[in-house]
Symmetry: C2
Amino acid sequence: MKKTKNTKKQLLEATLTLISEKGYLRATTREIAQKAGVTELTLFRHFGSKERLFEELLNGYTFLPRLKELLPELEGLSYERSLEIIATRFLLTLKERKAMIKIMYSEVTIYPEKIRAIYNRFVDEMRGTMAGFFENMQKRGIMRRNSPEMAARVFLWILISYFRSEEIMRPGSMKKETMEMNVQEIIDIFMHGTLNKRSDLSYTGRTAHERL
Amino acid sequence: MKKTKNTKKQLLEATLTLISEKGYLRATTREIAQKAGVTELTLFRHFGSKERLFEELLNGYTFLPRLKELLPELEGLSYERSLEIIATRFLLTLKERKAMIKIMYSEVTIYPEKIRAIYNRFVDEMRGTMAGFFENMQKRGIMRRNSPEMAARVFLWILISYFRSEEIMRPGSMKKETMEMNVQEIIDIFMHGTLNKRSDLSYTGRTAHERL
DNA sequence: TGGCTATGTAAGTGCGCACTTACATTAAAA
DNA sequence: TTTTAATGTAAGTGCGCACTTACATAGCCA
């Protein structure tokens, strides 16, 4: 063989980048090949068609959320602090996977089943993990008796929307400090809720907003 | 003139539908014209190019959220009930605007400025209204002293993600009853928060989840 | 060394699509 | 009735793109 053995990998990477930037139809095979440093013909020799190239990208992609490994490290921390750490880690994962996330948002109409499958696999896993975490918090009497499933969904929804708002709909990338502040406020709301109750004051004293 | 005077309107409607279903590039001018009941040539005589057709669609679109008109009707209702009603109304608005929302999600990469402008106009207006509502609740001592802005953002984020999850990423459309139940659980979390506090029990007795 | 495999060069094919041109028709306004 | 504005019919143009074919070349292994 000549030169590199990882041609396929580089083609898949170029595909990921270009399709996330310009969408499936606007990302031409010529451009993808060029970005991968090979000829267009090589692309077709490896994947046969543009469609199969895209499918292989989708099939081979894994989000591997490292959330589960994170949970044991939270022992001893407060509920609030735990949520903050989980949220931060989750947002970083989203940021790392930004390219694929953009694809999932913009190409659902075209590849409904496959993209939904990936998306749901990812979200379901996250939700399962979080639901487990919440169940645990309930057993310890730390959390109210909400449905852990729904709590997990709401938790993830907030963060996904926040990510989308900051990273995709608003210009400029999330700054680390802004993010930390926002996460604090978000978690504050998620944890305490928004209703004024006397016990709040005795427990936390002030809201994240007041601390600013 | 011949027949209808509203050719432009019908073309714009067809454009909205088709682009939301298949994306900008896959929605052909031939198909759009056919759906509008006119010839392709008529389309070009009216709009000059496909791009300008799309631009006119974006420029002329208005979300007109009727949220503001809704607020006065909430006088006398509980905080929780008010939030439920607002959430339901907001979700219905999203459902009605589903086509444009799908376009905004899938074509941001291609028309960043214009789509972001529309999106932000919509979201900012909603957020402003909600922030006003929360400020009012704070003045009355009903709500904790969170940042009303952030509370509004979180509130809308949850609902938008919920909408997306049910209407776009999961097969099948939101059933009315399921939606009502989900909204109850969501609002329950948003309002009370997820922390177990003694005053919760004295105030509401049980969570939405326990009521099921 | 010789054969095999991965890649390259170059030229081309066919299709779909946005967009055009020339001419005809119809209904309403004048 | 004549004129005019909006639409239709029909044929076509040119471009970009996915994909192909034929032939050449460079490194690896037996």
